[in-house]
Amino acid sequence: MTIIYRYVHGEEHQRGPFIPILARTREGHFLKVSALVDSGADHTVVPKRIATLLGLTQGNEIKTTGIGGSAKVKTSTFQFLLKGNREKYTFTVQSLVIQEENNMPLLLGRDGFFNHFHITFRHNEEKIMLKKVQTSF
């Protein structure tokens, strides 16, 4: 089954490959967060304030390096659901909680997510397509 999302509307700088994920809070509730699908990110990155809002438990502090420079992060486990047309997928991914209180979106990185879908960025059509990888047992 393929899930297709249209880019967020608005001016050019507002449009991008966001998808709605249902993030699980510590209390077991769900909050729909628009996450930016980032094929360049190894891991899912959660802004500190969003991690606090979700009640994520944070572990060891480590240092990361990216094009924007180095940043201090803490390791965490992040649970979320992705709803398709009729189907629902559950994920538990190792994530990094960025410690600076800057304004950035939740980044959905490759580890633990991209291996479950064939992901196509149709940037010219402003759409992102996610097709579930069929696994046989």
Binding site: I3, I4, Y5, R6, Y7, V8, H9, G10, E11, H13, Q14, G16, F18, I19, P20, L22, F30, L31, K32, V33, S34, L36, D38, G40, A41, V45, P47, R49, I50, T52, L53, G66, I67, G68, N85, N103, M104, P105, L107, K127
Partner: protein
């Protein structure tokens, strides 16, 4: 079927650089600090959507 992440009738332009809470297809709160939206989020009867509206002249480099 193509899905929209954010209802297309919503005008996001007044909220650039802010987190917005969308409940029942309406923006019900906005703030630069999402922690200040917690009460509003909890008052939404359906599952609310949280979205950071990208800001003009700001480039995200990750």
């Amino acid at each position: 079927m193509v899905k929209d992440v954010i209802p297309r009738n919503l005008d996001l332009s007044p909220y650039e650089g802010e987190w917005v809470v969308i409940c029942d297809k309406e923006i019900i709160a906005h703030n630069k600090n999402p922690l200040k939206l917690e009460k509003t989020i909890n008052n939404c009867k359906t599952i609310p959507t949280l979205f950071l509206v990208p800001e003009k002249n700001t480039v995200w480099l990750f």
